[in-house]
Amino acid sequence: GESVGLHLPTLSVQEGDNSIINCAYSNSASDYFIWYKQESGKGPQFIIDIRSNMDKRQGQRVTVLLNKTVKHLSLQIAATQPGDSAVYFCAENQPPNFGNEKLTFGTGTRLTIIP
């Protein structure tokens, strides 16, 4: 079936710089997207979400951008900190499922913050 994928498996960023993590999805009908952060030995932690009727949403130090034309999702983290080092997953909901009923997760990108 269709799945969510990521462009890069690893990303290293200097502390204080901004980082951008990308995600490509293949199902144009997907209507809800979430970014999760997973630290070693822990479960995924919700960061930010966005619905398909939006193209941008901002949180604290994070921004999610959605480009439905090219089916691309990105997570921008501003002023990265050592605690941002983790694996980041994008997840999508594909109708007829609704909201977070049955999320499809991507493979993940490992972000490493260099002190």
């Binding site: 822990k42 479960g43 995924p44 997840a91 977070n100 009923e101 049955k102 993940g108």
Partner: protein, 115 residues
């Protein structure tokens, strides 16, 4: 507020043996999810409960996997018999309800190694 609790955190068994994982969701959360996470991959949904009812078990390998959520609170996921390919992290998550954008909170997972 206590998070999702899972036990054991680690389990090592020989193939063909049975194994069980336990999950205690966040108090008041009606929806409970079990996921399987292979190394380097995103979580994959196995089963979703609404209270005590399994509303989506379409991705649960029912020949060897079973789950229950008696009284709509704690849940147990069982594998019998375990196979080498079952080695993975088994994550439990809960949310106040499904079908909306209520955040899924994940537990730390149980890392299963089948020898």
């Amino acid at each position: 507020e206590a998070g999702v609790v899972q036990s054991p955190r680690y389990k090592i068994i020989e193939k063909k043996q049975p194994v069980a994982f336990w999950c205690n969701p966040i108090s008041g959360h009606n929806t409970l999810y079990w996921y399987l996470q292979n190394l380097g991959q995103g979580p994959e949904l196995l089963i979703r409960y609404e209270n005590e009812e399994a509303v989506d078990d379409s991705q649960l390998p029912k020949d060897r996997f079973s789950a229950e959520r008696l009284k709509g609170v704690d849940s147990t996921l069982k594998i019998q018999p375990a196979e080498l390919g079952d080695s993975a992290v088994y994550l439990c998550a809960s949310s106040s309800r499904a079908g909306g954008t209520d955040t899924q909170y994940f537990g730390p997972g149980t890392r299963l190694t089948v020898l």
